[in-house]
Symmetry: D3
Subunit: 163 residues, 6 copies
Amino acid sequence: MIRTIRKGCKELSKQPSKFKMVDISPKDAVEREATAIGKLKLRNETAKKLREGKIEKGDPISISEVAATLATKNTSQLIPMCHNIPISKVETGTRFGDDYVEVEVRVKAIAKTGVEMEALTGASIYLLNVWDMVKKLEKDRNGQYPDTWIEYIKVKEKLKATK
Amino acid sequence: MIRTIRKGCKELSKQPSKFKMVDISPKDAVEREATAIGKLKLRNETAKKLREGKIEKGDPISISEVAATLATKNTSQLIPMCHNIPISKVETGTRFGDDYVEVEVRVKAIAKTGVEMEALTGASIYLLNVWDMVKKLEKDRNGQYPDTWIEYIKVKEKLKATK
Amino acid sequence: MIRTIRKGCKELSKQPSKFKMVDISPKDAVEREATAIGKLKLRNETAKKLREGKIEKGDPISISEVAATLATKNTSQLIPMCHNIPISKVETGTRFGDDYVEVEVRVKAIAKTGVEMEALTGASIYLLNVWDMVKKLEKDRNGQYPDTWIEYIKVKEKLKATK
Amino acid sequence: MIRTIRKGCKELSKQPSKFKMVDISPKDAVEREATAIGKLKLRNETAKKLREGKIEKGDPISISEVAATLATKNTSQLIPMCHNIPISKVETGTRFGDDYVEVEVRVKAIAKTGVEMEALTGASIYLLNVWDMVKKLEKDRNGQYPDTWIEYIKVKEKLKATK
Amino acid sequence: MIRTIRKGCKELSKQPSKFKMVDISPKDAVEREATAIGKLKLRNETAKKLREGKIEKGDPISISEVAATLATKNTSQLIPMCHNIPISKVETGTRFGDDYVEVEVRVKAIAKTGVEMEALTGASIYLLNVWDMVKKLEKDRNGQYPDTWIEYIKVKEKLKATK
Amino acid sequence: MIRTIRKGCKELSKQPSKFKMVDISPKDAVEREATAIGKLKLRNETAKKLREGKIEKGDPISISEVAATLATKNTSQLIPMCHNIPISKVETGTRFGDDYVEVEVRVKAIAKTGVEMEALTGASIYLLNVWDMVKKLEKDRNGQYPDTWIEYIKVKEKLKATK
């Protein structure tokens, strides 16, 4: 067992930390899992092309999976109060709708803290990458995106193994 | 004026690039601006505490702004087909609702390509950071987030200076 | 217990490593803590404005804390011979003087090696960020900084839990 | 012992992950070691200057070692399906030939998965850095490199401690 | 036209820079292009599966392209003496042989210095990623790779637009 | 000349940016240079060994130069309100004293904003790396550093070319 040096930290002078990073030292490293979901609303024609694998710029699903995997492993640099955690596994699932694409990102780790921020970051980066790959099809004549948005990024489920 | 070496690239062997990165060499570097918005749905009590600056873990708005600014400058590593662009300015605005917080991220650059992906990435990372700061208040007894989601991340406006 | 494959590494050919990274495999992962301090010398008026929270560019303390936290987690890319270590907790304290600001950065980790370089890196990046936020007030007419410097970055205390 | 939450992951909807990251949760963290080798073919005069420490741009061996060490610690961002692993030790060896330089990079970690990709990445980045340092000597009149190439990057040996 | 402050830099005290980064200030920013090639030697069965798109871990070509594109944009952090350059375009081509896969990476930029290191880095990272995706098929009973190596990473062509 | 889209940015809703990143769009890209200095106080014996090139862990000057060069190019990720700037040249100089080592880092860029933060970051990372290389010699029996500190990191000179 690991001995904790001090329970709380002794009071720091004058102005203490403005941001409180959770101290995870005393927590157990157990298996954790979190699944996040999210949707990208698209034009019907774009969603159809995506479903049929006909996006000219390349396969958005492949690139989004890769980018999401990298982002989950880099979450502690994107979200400053997150701890750097060794990820065991990232997995994604994609559902195609008539005018949207939905993603599900599942992250596993043996860690002292939950991995929901990693899963949410993965889902967000996934959807941003799909958007980037279909930009040409979603832009109107003035270069605007009246029909495109990301919605409902949510934690679907969070699990923690009992020791 | 810059001379282009070749118009198109000569045919590559067998299997060409699966992903087409847009060739921005021949484009003009003009001033570009893009504004993205997005919302984080919260519990009423959390939104109230956020409005009143009473989040125990620290001020979510400050940390989210900083993280969003860093992310816009790192977009080309988060979205593989994005070009690395020197950003001139990042600016954010925050609107507090009864059960949500809304962000607006504006990015400016003198660049050969638009900066909407940078603005969207900034808005996404901003909202993920607010979420991270209020996790404790949004979790239910089982560690789940029934009342929390990110929604309506959208490009509000895209501008391009005429040369 | 973990078996070590080889005690020393067998002699490499001709020219061995010019830099010796410490092999931490056989060390125990125990709780470690290190606290670093450092000062940024400022003009009296700037220090006063800082104390009173009147820096126009934004709150330097918030941004410096966030940047320092990110840097401690990224130390192994800033200092090549440092190991990548999962940080449990980063905490800062700020002291305001008549013509300076002082920081204290405390880092905790359960690790096979000490975290003083992480704390020192955090303190350095903290002070550089304060400087960046008050540049306008510290520059003289010629854009020089006659009254500004960083001094006395030091390890205040290093602790190691006994197993 | 760590309990696994689920054996396999429950089937994801419609289109599952296109890329299968290996789930390392159930694996034991034991000491691992991998050694990679590789060669950079050079002109005789360049190889001679390198051997004699007379490269004007600076010592290629020092810079290559440092860059290789950083790269091994960053492998999980360079190779998306690699896990982020805490490295215990990186060691390099250099052999000078008449018209080449050869590197050997050894990586150690206490990890749930092998470290051969880390060693191979280290060797590749090492050789690229030597190339960068001798560019001027290897270029012909037209700025081309007829006599320069990297070859035979290989895993020399992979070891795993038995528990 | 840009005025140079000083021709050479005034002599620095005692011990000057050990490494000479080329000063690219006075150079013209013109269109540059570089193409690098490289091969990964594989077992016949692996090469066949790769050709037929039957690698169980996912499509190695897609992931390698994405990783190579990211790496070219990050070359200045992988090769310390390289300048950070805005890349206009990355393009890859893949050739399948009986017992190897060959890649061609072409990089374009409007820059003050050549982009061959970016192309070479892209090709190296591409091949390392293919290797990572076929590890299971290439390993022998003892976890060694007797039949796998990277070879002949070379600059195929370097071009520079005349102003 | 580049046309600016809007002079000021139109008022953002409710709560505007807490941090003001300087908008550098309208500024001219001219040659800029900044030189930063800094000192690391050491024990006499350590300073002597450093001077004589007898540090067992490897040459601290080489590794510090490389790390400083990388850091200057990454300043915009270490200091959030800094812009990402293409650096033309980094140069360092080292002075050895009886009980200290002093560094001078000079950074050049053709940019819309000054590069003093890049030079200061380079000097800080340089000194932290020397410290890391001599840790063993500076620690006392209790693992503390009573005789070691960084001091007087300062901007020595800042220059800007007139257009």
